[in-house]
Symmetry: C2
């Protein structure tokens, strides 16, 4: 007889416009039977850690034509997470194994096609939470965006916005490893201090305290910016365009400042793309998972040697998940925002 | 004794803001002595054809930090042209030879460093005016932007704005040669007819008659745009971003709609760069003159075989030069705008 257990879920109540609120989500108490047909390919996961990522804002809206699908109102939110396989009908996943990948915002999830959506966790000598961040999607995003798209050269200048976030803090460290000069922007003094003292940025500034972003960038980059890792868009992008160097590169994986606006801000300085011969490249990490093994090979030794640090902000309990997700958009998190569902 | 001849000039009266007017320029009657010191490196040119190009608008403003220098108020306008060497102190340029490159808006010009700024014209079995267009800077711009930057593949869809201009009409023809489907936009019915009947675009539309550029693009590209050759910026760019396909490429060599605005238009749809993984690359043709011999080798046989056409709009007489230049910004020219200073 299959064991039936309670399974609390975080549900999207309705599509969201503007800034998301905790009240756009709700909790639902359900139960789940912990069994799968052998040969069904499905697995049942016990979720340990859930990842809060900015791209999830898009999924809270009704999307017609996007690279991600809308969440389904009335159903659990889905996203990246770390989990343990508790039942498996799939010969590639054994009961008891740890995995990371797409799961649900609930205590237990049934994953029907795990071969496409889950990665096995082989290295457990690192915090498991890292598989939502530095060893997961945000880590690969920083790696691909910086190394593959921006082609950094020693001595170049690098600017990172949302620099203390899940991706930005890694870009800064990759820039230092590559012999670049790197400056980050963030939205609180505490984050700025973190970037300079712990993460190792050469400089950092609080964009909310700058009257004039152009002047702030000129202060930090009197000779201009070779590489901009774009996480925010809008006014910051406009100021950066003015301060780019000739043949600069901009990698864009997100524009968090724009996600909650009914009308996005207009960017006025695109003429600089021409006069400065800038390459502005958007990318989606889903296209680049073939590089994940290569990335792990590079990053795990760096973590173990203490050369790379990773700031995390862990909210405890599934009950804290809605406020953790909403907090991304007001910048409340310091470092990668994770939700611990169960310590195991 | 050196011969002294009259030398009419077109002078920039003052720096310009907003749309340039004929009255921003003036004529000056001067004289010039037709002699240079042997070994001085200088040559004296008799100017035959002058080129009117959109980038010249920038040079009419006071520029601090640009890839081009401002014109000097009180001095002749400078730009590309076709000329005959009438005196030479430079062993690389012989009296009587035809050249194209940077010259002055005047009957005769002294060029002090011709090795850096002039190309010899070897092939004279084509209209000499072509060296201001298809065989000059605009031709190389179309070639580099389309082939080198956009990496076209057979069967892709291409959109060209300012499509009947000096660059756009060639991009359309290169697209057809590459097996692409190409649509152009222009600002009059006559230009649209020219694109479809003579130049060989698959389709063309008059952007001034479209209430909704997004709808116009959807009509012509129901499956989306792989390659956008950007000549105009502003609202058109915003509409194009919505209609790009995943992994689309945008090459930008100019944004003529923005040059005369005190405040450029805001572009709101840059988030599509990310969701569609678009590469948006600005370029300046000055960086790519190493490809000029390779381009000539490709294009001259195509011209002689009648496979490539080139629409020109030739204004007669140096007196017509100010109105010809100003006309670029209201779209008065049909095809490449040239000024004939002397038929020889």
């Amino acid at each position: 007889m299959a064991k039936e257990v309670s399974n609390k879920q975080v549900i999207l109540k309705h599509y969201v416009t503007g800034y998301p609120k905790e009240s756009d989500m709700d909790f639902k108490n359900t139960t789940i039977k912990l069994n799968v047909q052998e040969g069904s390919n499905a697995v049942i996961l016990k979720n340990l850690y859930l990842s809060c990522d900015p791209y999830m804002r898009g999924r809270m809206s009704k999307l017609d034509d996007s690279y991600v699908e809308s969440f389904t109102p009335g159903s659990p939110i889905t996203g990246y997470g770390v989990a343990r396989v508790v039942e498996s009908g799939n010969s590639n996943f054994q009961k008891g194994e740890l995995v990371w990948g797409m799961t649900g915002w609930e205590e237990y999830s049934i994953v029907t096609a795990p071969d496409q959506t889950l990665f096995k966790i082989h290295d457990k000598d690192v915090p498991l939470t890292y598989y939502t961040g530095i060893l997961g999607m945000p880590g690969l995003t920083a790696y691909v965006g910086f190394y593959e798209i921006c082609s950094p050269k020693k001595g170049e200048t690098v600017f990172v916005s949302a620099a203390s976030g899940a991706v930005g803090q890694l870009v800064g460290q990759f820039a230092k490893i590559s012999g670049c000069y790197v400056v980050g922007s963030a939205g609180t003094k505490q984050k700025v201090d973190l970037l300079k003292s712990k993460i190792g940025f050469d400089e950092a500034f609080n964009y909310k305290e700058e009257q004039d972003l152009d002047a702030a960038l000129k202060r930090h980059f009197p000779e201009g910016i070779d590489i901009y890792f774009e996480n925010v868009g809008g006014k910051m992008l406009d100021a950066v365009l003015v301060n780019m160097k000739v043949r600069g590169r901009i990698a864009a994986c997100g524009m968090i400042s724009q996600y909650n606006l009914e009308q996005t801000e207009g960017v006025h300085n695109l003429l600089y793309l021409i006069s400065k011969r800038i390459r502005f490249q958007g990318f989606i990490i889903f296209d680049h998972y073939d590089l994940y093994p290569k990335y792990l090979e590079m990053i795990i030794p760096q973590i173990k040697a203490g050369n790379v640090k990773y700031a995390e902000d862990i909210a405890v309990g599934l009950e804290s998940a809605p406020s953790a997700l909403v907090g991304l958009f007001s910048g409340r998190n310091i470092g990668k925002q994770v939700v611990m569902v169960s310590p195991e």
